[in-house]
Symmetry: D3
Subunit: 310 residues, 6 copies
């Protein structure tokens, strides 16, 4: 069973109709052709919807291509839409549990209260658990945002104590929240993309506003104002975490904690790009991957510690 991402009714040079479609399941997407097609069959295929397909896979120019022999309806309730999008490896529930555990160790009362308000927002946490970390560049799969965030929290727990002038609590909450706007910026129900709100406003402004709102909730709960400077610092961390104007940060890091978050975030995201480039490369004989635009280079695939051939 596949999600039909695009379909097209075409004519062969002999004038016969055939359907060219793009089918998706969790393992990726594939071009499909149904050679003896009719207009009825074409209209029976819902774009953005699901069908069961029968057929066989052929190799076309190094890519697999599915030759459709028959279709049948996909009854609601018999499938899980999540199967049609790529997913982060591992267990998202365990990851979210570990995030809660790490944040339960915060010693700053205000930051602890703020984390609590975020963690108990069920709707937001449900999105945080499922959202990808990006539409395309890195961790671009269901659960990627959580995977990326937890990875950063673990790194911070190890590294930050080596810089005792940095405030670990501020960094942990800053990392937890730095990309949380992506839960609203991106769509990840039937495809990974941008929501209208996300495209118009962006996750940086969205997270800044969430912090504004949640600190008011904290104040309402505790009965005393959330410190202005702490709220501004968290918002500054979010607003500056891309590190450069050219990458959409309207502010440059002016707190050491903001600078640290910028570099740790980049480290984790870029390493994910490297590993993904290697894993996705299809040529087992090549020493280098294809050119990866976001890192402006190809990646070297050989083990550098030996001179063994590939």
């Amino acid at each position: 069973m596949f999600l039909i991402r695009a379909k097209d009714l075409r004519t062969t040079t002999q004038g016969n109709l055939y359907i060219h479609a793009v089918l998706v399941d969790r393992s990726g997407q594939m071009v499909a052709r149904a050679w003896q097609a009719t207009e009825e069959m074409f209209h029976a295929m819902p774009e953005g919807g699901f069908l069961r397909f029968k057929g066989r896979v052929e190799n076309y120019k190094g890519n697999l291509q599915f030759i459709v022999d028959g279709i049948s309806p996909a009854e609601a309730g018999t499938f899980d839409i999540g199967d049609f999008l790529p997913k982060a490896p591992g267990d998202s529930d365990a990851r979210l549990q570990r995030v809660r555990e790490i944040l339960s160790g915060l010693t700053d009362a205000n930051l602890a209260a703020l984390a609590e308000v975020f963690l108990t927002d069920e709707v937001l946490m449900s999105g945080f658990r499922r959202a990808p970390a990006a539409a395309a560049l890195h961790h671009a799969y269901i659960g990627g945002l959580l995977e990326h965030t937890l990875s950063l929290l673990e790194v911070a727990l190890k590294v930050i104590p080596l810089y005792p002038r940095l405030n670990l609590d501020l960094i942990l909450v800053g990392l937890f929240l730095h990309d949380i706007g992506k839960a609203k910026e991106l769509t990840y129900e039937t495809a990974i993309g941008y929501s209208d709100q996300g495209q118009l406003i962006g996750h940086i402004a969205l997270a800044t506003m969430m912090i504004e709102e949640k600190t008011k909730e904290v104040a309402a709960k505790t009965g005393k104002p959330f410190p202005d400077r702490l709220r501004w610092a968290l918002q500054h961390i979010v607003l500056s975490h891309h590190g450069q104007y050219a990458f959409g940060s309207p502010k440059l890091p002016a707190l050491p904690e903001a600078m640290a978050i910028h570099y740790l975030d980049n480290l984790d995201a870029k390493l994910n790009m490297f590993f993904t480039a290697v894993d996705d490369d299809r040529d087992p004989h090549a020493h280098w991957t294809e050119y990866v635009r976001a890192i402006e280079t190809k990646v070297f695939k050989l083990d550098p510690t030996t001179d063994e051939p590939i």
Copy 2:
């Protein structure tokens, strides 16, 4: 009477003490020297505070310099602090009244309600009326934000009807709000500069959050939700109005109304820079002003329609 912006106790090459100070009133600032100074006299001068000065003005390297003969206290209540900062020409009250008048003509009910909520926020409007439009580049004087905003509203009323596909109401409210975060980003009580909040967060994020908050107030008042898409559009206008990532916009204009606001805003700001450069130029014989960094050029001061000498 002057505000003392900076002071310094120095020794002449003969070993005599003198005070070097920077005095400010609305007309600008001036270096002052008190030649026969004592430490007591030095400590009697409050940095960031006010004193009455007696003395005479001398010309030093083309700049005026004030030679202090005596000082006496400035009794509270006998002066208006506003006299010590540069002010926009003209009448701010009349300008604010004209803004209200223009916005009272809005036909879109949601935008009209939103404008109303902003205009009835007394604290915010008090800041909006006094804030400069920038710390240094253009309209950098008390009342500059209001002067700049009203100028843009008047321009829009004239131009936008020539582009009937543009939504005039959206543009008017967008212009009204595009820089309103400056009321919080800047300080303009005893000097023009940045607040901590402003430096950490910036007027773009501040205005985005104000719109979030005020649309909730509208919904609370009217009992029906403020349209999401309209809120996003206004926030998008604010977030994109600098037009380029390099100038601190985390989003690029994706609505024609946002693009129009970007260009009208620039037109008004840049013209103010040109006129200010000409007005501030001190050499009546020069054909060109000094180099103006923000426009990357000198400005030609001669009347281009004649060949008359200067």
Copy 3:
């Protein structure tokens, strides 16, 4: 009847010849295929020339495709070549008349005389009336230069009086001439593109030289020299109107009038790009257009004042 922009003799996988051609009329261009082709038929189709075609239109991958059943000659004099290029909406004669009317209101005698010399150059005005405003980016159709220029003149008549320190006459003539070099830079007889002169020299240098030449004509007619400074100012406006070195302006605006022209020009050009992007978008269900390179973003197509679905 169509203009044949490109043609190609191809073989099907069965070894049969067919012709693949690109046909153009004013409504746009279309791929055509003639399945049972011969070499004779192929040579009978003049690339860059005209033929009458018989056949039917099919939908291929969302694009229309014309299946040719027969061809017959297009007799000279039976068609208007202008029908094969896209045209500005509306009436170019009326537009040119309106330009003349606006320029007849100039009060500066030198500028009025210069405008007159340009307006009475029949050859130039014929090109000015037909030229596009660009080869691709905005107003890229027959009459686009005139449409863009008139739009700017109307805008200036409304806006500039709000800035009384600006010289309206200088701006009107500057706008009239800012892109007039495009009448020579571009070709727009059988296709829209660049002339050799245009590609080597560019419209900015071309217009600068036209002003040099026409001011000499004014001096010859009036018997007194055209003021140097005014000629320089107009040439400076032309040379600086792209606003940045990176966009091919060898000078940056150093007159407030030059700066105003730069921003108004951009406003009008960019709005045309937005509206064209929306109008040309082929997916009625999409909330966003395709990415538009010149404005570095997609354009949001929904009405921002409502939450109505598309």
Copy 4:
């Protein structure tokens, strides 16, 4: 005798008046102080004019400073204004003669006729002979334009024959004219700077217009039109010779001859900067010059072929 570039009446800390002035002669400029000054003496010193000065030179912070003991008028006719500006080494008349000689060897009739028209324009050649090649960066002295141009012609005579596909005549005339607009762009009578026309239009557009005008003169003299393509090629060479938009070229080199001229021009100009940086460096013990902004580096002053100490 010196030119007085700037003057200032100042007060010592004892209240005595003194004059601080900048005096210029061909060897450079020097700060001067007249300790026992009066207002009459101050007004007797004409800014931009000439006086004879008596006094002595002191060393002040490594710079020479002239202590004025007396002044007396400089009678017109007793001095040559050219003595007060830096001059190219060597004989400008001989250089101009050599330029004429090289251009007399042109074999292309049209280019030879064009060169002739330029060479017989007495006013222009007088400027060409005296103009500097730049206001500040390289060959920034009287006769610098001619020195730079001749150097390039000599280089071209040697190099271009190694690239037989290049048209030597086109390159020779292109080099002769590439910077000729500087004769009008710059001022070099009492100081080296920019003319109003030069600052508004620039030498690139000026030279483009000169070529337009002079080719018309050729056509008038010869009675047959100057080839369009050749005129465009020369104008293209001028318009593209800075090689990048960012350096004020509105066109990029699209002819191999234009590209060659761009690189030869840069080679000659940059070498002049290197040699000037070394010659002007005042510290005989330093291995490196000061940072030179136009080449973004310090220059190494030691002989690289030895390990001898400085």
Copy 5:
């Protein structure tokens, strides 16, 4: 006989197998199709290996396409692999001889000894003789590095004596070595590309290390140390010869000799790009070549000295 660069087993819309391959010989590459293919035939074609092909050439979309009728093995020893890569015009042996001759004229003893050590390294010289000067941009063919290097040496012999302050010997050896790292950076046995070492380290660092090593050999041979400063100067020339950080130079030219080498290198490389663009252009009627990315423009193909049509 051809080298098989890529191959692909595809199915026609009728379900028949065919092979799509890219075949290469020295004249360039060509798409080939074998319509009645079998899996055996497909596996018999070695990717990166050689076969003899029988068939006919067809014109497909303006490109030649080879229709395969039969294949037969290519016996080892019956062909020269060098025939399958593009080669520099002319005689590489004569070129290398001329390089030796020029370098035999060095007068600086240290530089002469260093050149000798390089020229007698047989392995290196064999690579230097065969290597291309680039993987794609200019002189991208067997023998291109030598052709480019010799061209530069000849240019330097002519030009540098016009700048007597430049050290000709240093420039000659600098030019000889500036790109010698390409002999290791590139691969040029069965295809032109990058070696792993080249891609990881780059020819600039490689040549820097070769100079380090070879100067040690000189010292070992002569028994006295090679002058440090001279070694540094040569390494500086290599490290800075791209002229800008953005082009991979970690140092900017700080010696006039380094600057001269940078410009001469660019001149020669860019002229090769221009001539190649013109020679490779396939449309005899076009006035302009296709856009050439490395020079950011199309190239004008017409003779600029006439108005003759093409």
Copy 6:
């Protein structure tokens, strides 16, 4: 006792001589004036040498200034030149010991052997122990290179195990060597600056060559070749560790280990800049430091976790 970095003989406006000098000891530098100076006294002060000074400190414009009352010779052997340069806090010997300890844990035999060869090069290690990490930007003090390197090793030991696909040994040796060229690039005997070799070649090329040389030593010791790929990987790490061409890296990171080193290096260097900016800031009342050019912002000095005033 102070090092005399610069000296100057000046005249007061009364014509009296005085000496203006810049004196340095480890705590920083200070302007000194000796009011009743003679030429003999001036020549007795060795620039770049040492003297004992008697006098008193005055506050001049917020900076301390030393008024010299007398000078006496500084006998050799009575002082340690190291006292006159800023030093890293803490114990360099203990740091170097810790580096040895960490590198003794390497498990890859080749990397362990290479580290050993570096660590036993006494001359190099002596420089490594004393060198600053930069001339100005970060860790710009004696011992800074070692402090920075050790800090990175400690960070890597904590972080890298969280990314098990990264090769920890490769990263540890890469970090150890990434800046080791600075031991030769910089001078740090009497002042911190660049050596001639350093300025001409740079630490990146220097370290690349050291690795080339030391791997040969390893091969000589072990009798088997050091793996090419491992040598290239280490050189690639050095060549790419600045991460961008614009920052002098001729290669971009193409190994995940190289990318990780780039970010960890930046993190440590930038945090040092933040802390230094705060520590060096002289205004205890300011909320922000001065603008720091390398991070393009001011640094916020207040504790963000509270709203306490400063």
